[in-house]
């Protein structure tokens, strides 16, 4: 029982990170219907920006932890958002009205570019960071097994839920959110009634990248390492999460992220660590056999 609760906590923390990345996939898919393959690498760039910002802050003598974390979060979100914007501008906007596989190939190209750019600029070695947020709480204890909730996990879960609430509010209530929903339903019609679709799509990428940056920073705090390759694995998992939840659906992305995080954690805890990814992918395939549009996805209605 204690072991189970512990794995539940670990799974929710990991799932939150996947969920935040998955939102970027699902938003872009909802609005322009493409798989943004470079999104995982945007997450990786976010982790690197957070790492470097933190080191720079230490070098110039900002050591108060809450202030430093806040600054790192701000810089990482801002710079990674700039990456998201640039990627859209260079690789996707010229292909807006092109056929469907072209942006996919261009996205794979972008993913290769970002990976190798970071590898060249920062080296291929794994970058370790000593744990910044230490300590935690022991929830309950019995049979020599203590259920721990660490402060990093609290931060991750709290930040994710705060962002989710802010983000849902933005989609539901603000002008930008309304524009996004309009573009999602029918981009052409939205532009006819005065929605600046190019700007809306750009902002979608910017917001997705900023959320990925938060995920990158949390990954760095949670695992304490970053390298140029983390983006691919996290990206594939998050994309799996988005599809599992029903691509295009925001609550679905979060739910899918949590599910993938839980499946992975429980599979590693009770069966084998080696096959945890196989388990996540196998669950995806099995779910899609029975629910071809994911858990919360709406079935696509085809007009003939």
């Amino acid at each position: 029982m204690e072991y189970f609760v512990q794995q539940l906590i670990n799974g929710v923390a990991l799932g939150s990170i996947y969920g935040l990345i998955a939102i970027g996939y699902t938003m872009v898919y909802g609005i322009i219907g493409m798989i943004n393959f470079a999104h995982g690498d945007i997450f990786m760039v976010g982790a690197f920006v957070a790492l470097i910002t933190f080191l720079v802050l230490v070098a110039i003598g900002v050591t108060a932890l809450p202030l430093a974390l806040f600054l790192v979060l701000l810089v990482a979100m801002a710079l990674t958002a700039l990456y998201g914007w640039t990627v859209e501008r260079i690789a996707y906007r010229p292909l807006r009205r092109s056929f469907r596989l072209a942006p996919l190939i261009s996205a794979i190209g972008m993913s290769i570019i970002l990976q190798n750019y970071v590898q060249i600029a920062q080296g291929a070695r794994v970058k370790p960071l000593p744990p910044l947020i230490t300590g935690g709480y022991t929830l309950f204890e019995s049979n020599d097994f203590a259920v721990q909730l660490s402060n990093v996990q609290i931060l991750i879960i709290w930040l994710t839920f705060t962002l989710m609430i802010a983000f849902s509010w933005m989609i539901a209530k603000t002008r930008l959110g309304r524009d996004m929903r309009a573009c999602e339903q029918d981009a052409r019609m939205a532009s006819l009634v005065g929605v600046d679709t190019d700007r809306t799509i750009s902002l979608t990428f910017v917001i997705g990248a900023a959320l990925a940056a938060v995920a990158g920073m949390m990954y760095l705090l949670y695992y304490g390492v970053a390298d140029f390759y983390i983006g691919f694995i996290a990206g594939v998992k998050a994309f799996t999460a988005a599809v599992l939840g029903g691509i295009g659906s925001l609550p679905g992305a979060m739910l899918g992220g949590l599910l993938i995080g839980l499946i992975e954690t429980f599979w590693s805890a009770y069966f084998s660590v080696e096959y945890k990814d196989v388990a996540a992918f196998a669950v995806l395939i099995v779910v899609l056999i029975f629910l071809p549009t994911g858990i919360l996805g709406r079935p696509e209605i085809e007009k003939v």
């Binding site: 690197f48 640039t86 196989v278």
Partner: protein
């Protein structure tokens, strides 16, 4: 409109705009590169990470972006670049005329290539590699280009073929010529296995399931150590023989039987012709299948699945055969890869390979056999040419993928030959072909 038709006259009037856009681009570039390039992290003497400023590189990059953006706006204005517009029409016409002879010329060149490069083993190895990718591209083209099923895990079948042959040869001592068809059949079987769950899926759901399938196969190959050798792979896979005659320097070897002087290059030349024959077989089967009902059903499926079903085409069988036949050629290529390398490991079957093969198919122009061959030649050849810049070649490769897609979203070969036609055969622009999204 007038600005675009007379770029030279408009240059001075664009000067302020160019300056402004260049300054903006440089600012964005400065922001992008500020931390990742401008500050290098490394492990310091104590083992903890420290940062070094690298401002000169940052300034260089921002400067290059400034100059590039300035020149681009000055010369071409704000309009999206369209390379083809800057070619005079005469060049295009000659190009169109030449392209008719491209296929026979390439085939002829391929047939005599081993004689030309007989003394140059590097070129022979490179041409074998290119032909392997041509074959993989043609195999994937059946699934993506003809049936319109987006497959992001094609490398799984390549892996199944390679491991099937390697394990059959090692455990049961089967020769290459028996292992090859068996590897193809096993890969086709796996293609059907993948096909079943994805029958009802569309578009990107299909893409992620195929990607997941590819990853599952790779992860199982890594982790099932007792069967596949795990990350260490399988070594000393038997080399192919010339229909029973081994390429060795002794009695009964290939060279002795034909009275030739022994040379290790014989085996390479033989491998070259084997992969050439396999690739041509793939091509020939594809061309023939397009004329059969099944091939037409594939293309109909690509264009409109609902119309297909209402006309009584069994979409289940159509999709499964597309997966099976595409996978079979992937399996053949895998078996060839195993026997050529003599060593295989899961490292060779990562997602990047799938992406590369898909890129070859899309860059070549989906559905165009010649385009796929040209794209494989260009991509793999250019990749090898960049070997000197080892560090930067993947970066250049990524940029090439993005740029080709931005300039020619329909691929290098922009026309398609329809499978059936009324009275007169003529080429169609590729924009009239459905996009292969299902």
């Amino acid at each position: 409109m007038t600005e675009q038709s007379a770029p030279a006259a408009a240059v001075p009037s664009r000067f302020p705009a160019a300056l402004k856009s260049a300054a903006l681009s440089a600012l964005v570039a400065f922001g992008l590169f500020s931390l990742i390039v401008g500050a290098r992290t490394d492990q310091g003497p104590t083992g903890a990470l420290i940062v070094f400023p690298r401002l000169d590189d940052l300034a260089w990059l921002a400067g290059v972006v400034f100059a590039g953006s300035f020149l681009r706006t000055l010369l071409f204005g704000d309009a999206p670049l369209q390379v083809s517009r800057h070619f005079p029409s005469g060049v295009k016409r000659i190009g169109a005329r030449l392209s008719r002879f491209a296929a026979p010329a390439l085939l002829g060149f391929a047939l005599i290539a081993p004689l030309l490069f007989y003394s140059n083993r590097y070129y022979l190895d490179l041409s074998i590699l290119v032909l392997t990718y041509v074959m993989l591209g043609w195999g994937l083209n059946i699934v993506v280009g003809l049936a319109g099923l987006l497959d992001l895990g094609y490398v799984a079948f390549y892996a199944v073929g390679a491991y099937s042959y390697a394990l059959l040869a090692q455990n049961f001592g089967l020769s290459f010529w028996i292992g090859l068809p068996l590897a193809g059949i096993l890969a086709a079987f796996w293609g059907v296995l993948l096909g079943f769950p994805v029958l009802r899926l569309r578009g990107d759901y299909l893409a992620i399931v195929t990607l997941a399938f590819g990853e599952i196969i790779r992860l199982v190959l890594i982790n099932w150590q007792s069967f596949t050798g795990g990350p260490n792979g399988i070594a000393s896979i038997p080399r192919p023989s010339f229909f029973g005659l081994p390429f060795t320097d002794d009695e009964g070897g290939f060279a002795h039987t034909f009275g030739l002087e022994f040379s290790p290059i014989h085996r390479i030349v033989f491998l070259f012709y084997v992969i050439l024959a396999l690739a041509l077989l793939t091509n020939w089967v594809t061309i023939r299948l397009r004329r059969l009902p099944i091939g037409r059903a594939w293309e109909a499926l690509r264009e409109d699945e609902i119309a297909c079903r209402s006309l009584g085409i069994n979409t289940t069988n159509t999709k499964l055969t597309a997966f099976a036949i595409g996978a079979m050629f992937g399996g053949f290529a895998g078996a060839f890869f195993a026997t050529r390398q003599g060593f295989i490991s899961p490292e060779s079957f990562v997602f990047m390979e799938s992406a590369l093969i898909l890129a070859i198919v899309v860059l070549g122009g989906m559905g165009s056999q010649l385009g796929v061959a040209v794209a494989a030649l260009v991509m793999i050849g250019a990749f090898e040419l960049l070997r000197e810049f080892a560090q930067y070649r993947m970066l250049v490769f990524g940029f090439a993928m993005v740029l080709i897609m931005v300039w020619r979203p329909r691929g290098l070969i922009g026309t398609r030959v329809p499978s059936i036609f009324l009275r007169k055969e003529k080429e169609l622009p590729s924009s009239m072909v459905a996009e292969g999204r299902r």
